[in-house]
Amino acid sequence: MINVKGLKKSFGKNEVLTGIDIDIAQGEVVVVIGPSGSGKSTFLRCLNLLEQPTGGEIYFEDELITARKYDIDSARRKMGMVFQHFNLFPHKTVLQNLTIAPIKVKKTDTASAQKIALDLLQTVGLADKKDAYPNQLSGGQKQRIAIARALAMQPHVMLFDEPTSALDPEMVGEVLEVMKKLAQQGMTMVIVTHEMGFAREVGDRIIFMDGGRIVEQGTPEQVFGSPSNARTQDFLSKVL
């Protein structure tokens, strides 16, 4: 579904990604872990071109989205993204946050967009908040709304950029619960996170990144159980 070949990204002279190759299959849940500054978030943001790669190629559903003339908006419609800081639209109600993109971008009529939105709010357990404004919600509620907002576009893949890092500890669980449900439904997901327990439980494949490249990858049992690389062992010994 997503094929990345030789992906490089530099900010000025600072090379953040030094060459990444990865293929992500439909329905796969890929969890990216690694120390801060290892390039995990940059890698994720390159997948929907929020960061413009400085080298390499990215294919999404067999289309080369890094091609110069490619209309990236059309790919982004099928790639949902969830941010560390939620980025809900503060001037819109919860319901409007969920319906604006389907209505404006996909030209869905208001009634069906609202129906989809209400179903999603039900799923994330916040149907009663549909008329609230984002600032009236707790962090965990905001992030669940943000997930629902991305899902409202009915994406083929979901990208999560440290979705629980900005949350108070007691709210982490409710967000992970929603994500777990999503994984069980067969959604293709790429998740950057520091929640090792969650990674182990939900991930089909664990990617360990360090210094702008993929150092080790495999099933959770392999990476967490018997890491082969010294840096992986070092990192896991610190966080587990």
Binding site: F83, V105, Y133, P134, N135
Partner: protein, 485 residues
């Protein structure tokens, strides 16, 4: 579209209103020929404001002459009250067809305009406070004293020739009178009939016996250079008037009209009540000007702000130049350039109201553009990322996500700009828009009260800005529902 549609509808209807109402307000209605006469209506008995049956009217002997000319031409007469200084530019830029304002055909003026035969010869007199009447009884006694004159008038030129005299030039004859009464000047040079009119109304003033040599001045009607057709028409009317000796009669009648029942209202409330219609009209114009100025300024400012934030250098530079020039030059200069300069250079004529609105709009657009820019830049970058990640284009993101948040955050600043514009719109009185300031000046020149008409205007300005600030505060609180925690 939900957000934009009502806005757009509003805008279009207001635009239509603008093009319908403004020309109608600015020019006389009706079909057929119109002849526009420019005069400075503060020069009794030749031309002055008079409250007749609660209506402000411009009357005087020159107005009577203008009526005759218009009648002979079969045209409708339209009178524009313009400061004396601005009459000649108004004529050469084609805003008015002729000047009948007690104007003397000097050599300098002849270079720029053509004059009719003279219709009246006035003599100049020296007016002083009654107690000084004998002190300045001879021309020689005037040496070295301070003398008040009307700015740009023929008397200013005459007074300059008095040895050692220190001149104080003011806009209006009523101001000259006030200068005398408040002892800021010792004497004033004035037209004979004008001075007689003033003395009739003010017992503390008198005309001295001093004779000014070579001071008899002709009065003639000015037309645009080369307009021989109109000039011939005017001369034939003047010849008719001369036959019946009509002009001195006009002047006598006008002098009588000016001096009758000038019971001076010395109480601020009675001035306000007597001239409430003036102020009401003024408030209407001031509010119309400010509202349209801010509305158009809002739209233009938003566009300029977007250009200013564009990735294209050219667009950014254009926007920056626009903003810097408009913010770096006085609004009065902009107003005069738009009203007189553009008319003369490009032959595009705006009515005084249109010029006023255009000036206020572009001026406030420069300030609003910078306010919008700050607002747009102040919206969190994550908002753009979230919108783009949902597949929204750059334009959609701006329109639905960034700009609504930016506008909300700058609403207090926009309201502030509206308040500023209400105050600054007072400069449009300079070109003759009948706004609140203009009306206050008109009331001053009728009542000869220096302070009260202006105090009333100040009070009205204050009420408008104060109420507006409070209203904006309420709107702001309603808008901030989404900020509630």
């Amino acid at each position: 579209m939900k957000v934009l549609k009502p806005w757009l509808g509003c805008l279009i209807s207001i635009l239509m209103l603008f093009f319908m109402i403004v020309p109608a307000m600015a020019s006389a209605e009706g079909s057929g020929k119109t002849i526009v006469v420019g005069l400075s209506a503060d020069f009794a008995p030749y031309e002055f404001h008079k409250n007749i049956d609660g209506q402000d009217q411009i009357v005087g002997s020159d107005v009577e002459i203008a009526k005759r000319i218009a009648a002979d031409m079969g045209a409708q007469l339209q009178i524009q009250d313009i400061p004396f200084d601005s009459l000649l530019p108004a004529l050469s830029s084609g805003r008015i067809d002729m000047i009948i304002s007690g104007m003397t055909p000097t050599e300098d003026r002849r270079k720029n305009v053509d004059f009719s035969e003279s219709y009246y010869i006035s003599r100049q007199v020296i007016m002083t406070r009654a107690e000084d009447k004998d002190k300045y009884a001879s021309f020689d006694s005037l040496k070295g004293i301070t003398i008040g004159v009307q700015k740009g008038s023929i008397q200013e030129g005459i007074a300059k020739d008095i040895e050692g005299a220190k001149l104080t030039s003011v806009d209006k004859i009523s101001d000259v009178v006030l200068q005398l009464q408040s002892k800021r000047v010792d004497a004033a040079v004035m037209e004979g009939p004008v001075a007689e009119g003033q003395v009739a109304n003010h017992s503390d003033l008198a005309i001295t016996a001093a004779q000014i040599p070579n001071s008899d001045t002709e009065m003639a009607i000015a037309v645009k250079k080369g307009n021989t057709e109109l000039l011939a028409q005017i001369n034939s009317t003047l010849a008719d008037l001369k036959k019946t000796d009509a002009v001195p009669k006009f002047i006598q009648e006008a002098t009588a009209l000016n001096s009758d029942e000038q019971t001076e209202p010395d109480n601020i409330f009675s001035i306000f009540w007597d001239y409430r219609h003036y102020y009401a009209t003024g408030v209407q114009y001031t509010l119309l000007l400010s509202a349209l100025g801010v509305l158009f300024g809002f739209v233009i400012g938003l566009i300029v702000a977007l250009l200013r934030l564009s990735n294209l250098n050219v667009l950014r530079w254009i926007a920056m130049t626009y903003i810097e020039i408009l913010r770096g030059t006085p609004m009065l200069v902009q107003l005069l350039i738009i009203h007189y300069g553009i008319a003369q250079t490009f032959h595009i004529e705006f009515s005084v109201l249109q010029s006023g609105i255009i000036t206020l709009s572009i001026n406030s657009s420069a300030y609003l553009a910078e306010i919008f820019r700050a607002g747009i830049q102040g919206v969190d970058r994550g908002q753009t990322e979230a919108a783009r990640s949902l597949g929204m284009s750059y334009g959609m993101t701006l329109r639905h996500i960034i700009i609504p948040q930016a506008i909300k955050s700058v609403l207090p600043a926009i309201g502030n700009e509206f308040v500023v514009i209400i105050k600054e719109s007072s400069i449009v009185s300079f070109i003759g828009v009948a706004d609140l300031m203009f009306q206050a000046q008109a009331v001053r020149s009728i009542t000869y009260s220096a302070l009260y008409p202006l105090l009333i205007a100040a009070a009205i300005y204050f009420v408008m800005t104060f109420v507006l600030s409070k209203l904006l505060g309420m709107v702001e609180r309603r808008w901030s529902v989404s900020d509630k925690r």
